[in-house]
């Protein structure tokens, strides 16, 4: 009898301790969650210096790095970096992070279509094969992240392989600076600065136009990231940076994950937000969502659905809006601004698209392709 009672007490107390500990853990984090200030301040970077055959500088996460003076091969741990190198010095790219679709391939120059797929560090997972990376002999590992982001796993890779890591910043306002620095690292400052200037001019132009939008004209946008439309990212997320940039209001003001996991919301919550515009993403179930949403009674009362204002950003070869948040967003900013605010933003989008593809991807596209891309298509 006694032992039975004892076991019961033991079990109960273990349960209580566990619950208490969890509660303590939760409360202590919410109070100490000092979030690193998001992107807006462009990182100040001294450009590089060559000492004893080594190029030395402070990278965009504030780390002192020393790399070979001449960098011939680069391994990028995520598509954001891969696309930066591809647009700046494609010959120095040793591989992609994941397999590209046929549709995307038609915008990729022939000699880079067959680069090996190497995996990377994406969504908290490491899929690269350390030995294979070493066998390709990259001179540097490029990691493009966010201020204050944890890059411990990339540092590990560097420790194992002895290959130095260079950190750049992907936030939209830091992209220009990233290109200038990367241009120097890759030994092609001319192209690096040319692209950086292009980025600066394009973003400045968009920024000055959207700056005129009065607060009461701001469009309420919801970013639907799943086939059922109920996954999203909040205004603090790296995935919705462009919405903030073009002066739109992200209806999701919740603090959501900036790590790429997003958050689930309820239908009632979306009805309550009643967004004017919904942005979908073909990488995140957007096509399936578009197929059903206009016939779905749950969604029919939402302003964006009623007025048929659901937009899908182009995703070829790289997405204009997000997933990954890469350099294509420079063009995406212009597209989004002119889509959301036709009264305030007047641009020759078609010619700018062709110009961007020529400048960054070094491909000539036709008027039809440009138009298709603007409408979210562009595939075969």
């Amino acid at each position: 009898m006694r032992s039975k009672k004892f076991t019961k007490v033991l079990v109960l107390s273990i349960c209580m301790v566990l619950v208490l500990l969890t509660a303590v853990g939760c409360s202590s984090t919410t109070s100490s969650a000092d979030k690193p200030s998001t992107a807006s301040q462009a990182a100040t970077t001294q450009l590089t210096k060559v000492v004893d055959g080594k190029r030395q500088f402070t990278d965009m996460m504030g780390k002192e790095v020393s790399i070979p003076a001449e960098v011939m091969k680069v391994y990028c741990t995520s598509p954001i970096g891969t696309y930066m190198v591809y647009t700046l010095a494609p010959a120095k790219l040793i591989g992609w992070n994941s397999k590209m679709t046929e549709d995307a391939m038609q915008y990729i120059n022939a000699q880079y279509k067959d680069l090996p797929v190497l995996g990377g560090n994406m969504g908290g997972k490491n899929t690269y094969n350390t030995e294979y990376i070493i066998s390709l002999k990259p001179d540097i590992i490029l990691s493009v992240g966010q201020q204050g982001q944890n890059v411990a796993s990339i540092d590990k890779l560097s420790e194992q392989t002895g290959i130095p890591v260079v950190n750049l910043d992907y936030s939209i306002t830091a992209t220009e600076q990233s290109y200038r620095l990367l241009g120097e690292i890759l030994g092609d400052s001319t192209r690096g600065n040319m692209l950086a200037d292009y980025i600066k001019n394009s973003l400045d132009k968009t920024k000055s136009m959207v700056a005129k939008i009065p607060d009461n004209k701001k469009v309420k946008v919801y970013y639907a990231e799943s086939a059922d439309g109920l996954s999203t990212d909040g205004s603090d997320s790296m995935h919705t940076e462009l919405l903030n940039f073009v002066n739109a209001t992200n209806v999701v003001t919740l603090e959501t994950s900036a790590s790429g996991m997003g958050t689930e919301v309820s239908m009632e919550q979306v009805l309550n937000w009643n967004p004017d515009v919904i942005i979908v993403n073909s990488m995140m179930g957007g096509d399936d969502f578009l197929k059903t949403v206009y016939n779905d009674s749950k969604w029919s009362s939402i302003s964006a659905v009623k007025n048929k204002k659901i937009y899908k950003p182009a995703s070829l070869p790289f997405n204009w809006f997000d997933r990954p948040p890469c350099v294509a967003r420079v063009l995406g900013a212009e597209w989004l601004a002119s889509t959301l605010y036709p009264d305030y933003v007047s641009v020759d989008l078609k010619s700018d698209v062709k110009d961007f593809y020529k400048t960054f991807y070094q491909v000539d596209i036709t008027d039809e392709q440009a138009t298709a891309l603007i409408n979210g298509g562009g595939g075969k």
Binding site: Y128, N150, M261
Partner: protein
């Protein structure tokens, strides 16, 4: 399955277990296989190192010479640490699985089923959230792994009185497991996404592609501490599996022995998880496989499980790191091999238990 254990209790002496195969030659063979697989593992990988070059490097290393640059980096910073960890992880999971099965007199249990893995995972997440240092993270993982096993055992002995104890323990384990998984999710939910969340995710995912000599050391110490009691007390696991009264009659302090064995097994589990993340199935199937070969006597079963576990995980990891240009997560492979094998055991009948 209980019947076989009961009938085992009827045998007059512990040494009187029916022998599947003679002990010593089998053990020697298992050690030999592990050594051979280990040596083969050194030669394979995405970075091709020819055998002669491998020999040269080792000779150079022995005579204190340096050279070869990249090849040495691959061998000493990437491949060897990974191989060593692979062996230890497999051995730890299989050894603790075998011990748990004996301690709880239940062939269906393993570190994951008892909740040790989920508990250790939560402990680590909790520790990372509170910015503990690396050693405290390990200790917290161990403590929560232990708490989970304790909770499973205590709950099942309350619920399972007078009923199917085997089933109740498995079910309680599932409850505890999902409870701790939920705790982990809460921890991830409140974690700072830029920093802590990534760290937690990275820790839970594990994976052997970022192992350095530091991880080898980190794993080695708890591995040895955990394995020693399992070896020293391995014959007592036989006694424990007879049942409480028989064991007491044989003069074994069941409470103390059980506690030590649980502590040691959980330490092994949590140290394996801290390096490799959640790797399922090894702790469940390897002891069964070992039983097929050497029979149910823990004197032979424990070393056999440890040796086979190490060999098995090493082979699986070799596949994971060589087949594709990108890594295949270890847990996927162990599940693909483990689940059908376990079904085969179930279909084949319980004679092996």
């Amino acid at each position: 399955m209980r019947d076989t254990l009961k009938s085992a209790a009827g045998t007059p002496s512990i040494t009187g277990w029916r022998n599947r195969l003679p002990g010593l030659p089998v053990m020697t063979a298992l050690i030999l296989i592990l050594v051979i697989v280990f040596l083969i593992s050194l030669t394979i990988g995405r970075y091709g190192i020819p055998f002669e070059q491998l020999m040269q490097i080792f000779f150079a290393k022995i005579f204190g010479m340096t050279g070869q640059g990249t090849v040495e980096t691959v061998l000493f910073n990437v491949r060897i640490p990974r191989i060593l960890c692979g062996v230890m992880i497999g051995a730890a999971l299989a050894g603790s699985g075998a011990a748990y099965q004996g301690i709880f007199k239940n062939p269906m249990v393993s570190p994951d089923i008892l909740g040790a893995s989920a508990g250790a995972g939560f402990g680590a997440a909790f520790a990372i959230l509170n910015s503990f240092n690396i050693i405290s993270i390990e200790i917290t993982a161990f403590i929560f792994g232990l708490a989970a096993v304790g909770l499973t055992y205590a709950l099942s002995s309350v619920i399972g009185r007078n009923s199917n104890a085997v089933l109740v323990l498995v079910l309680t384990g599932m409850v505890v497991q999902s409870l701790f998984s939920a705790f982990t999710s809460i921890t991830k939910f409140v974690a700072d996404p830029n920093n802590k969340l990534q760290e937690i995710t990275f820790w839970l995912m594990g994976g052997l592609n970022s192992i350095t000599s530091r991880e080898v050391l980190m794993m080695f110490i708890p591995f040895v501490i955990g394995l020693i009691p399992l070896f020293l007390f391995r014959w007592k696991i036989n006694v424990l599996s007879f049942g409480e009264e028989e064991a007491k009659a044989m003069g074994v302090d069941t409470g103390r022995v059980r506690l030590i064995l649980i502590l040691a097994s959980t330490l092994l589990t949590s140290s394996a998880i801290s390096v490799a993340g959640m790797v399922g199935w090894v702790g469940l199937i390897i002891p069964h496989f070992a039983r097929l070969i050497v029979g149910p006597d823990y004197k032979k079963l424990m070393p056999a499980s440890v040796l086979i576990g190490g060999t098995f995980l090493l082979i699986v990891d070799n596949v994971a790191r060589t087949v594709f240009a990108t890594e295949i997560p270890l847990g996927i492979l162990t599940a693909i091999i483990g689940a059908p094998f376990f079904l085969y055991l179930l279909l084949k009948g319980r004679s092996a238990w």
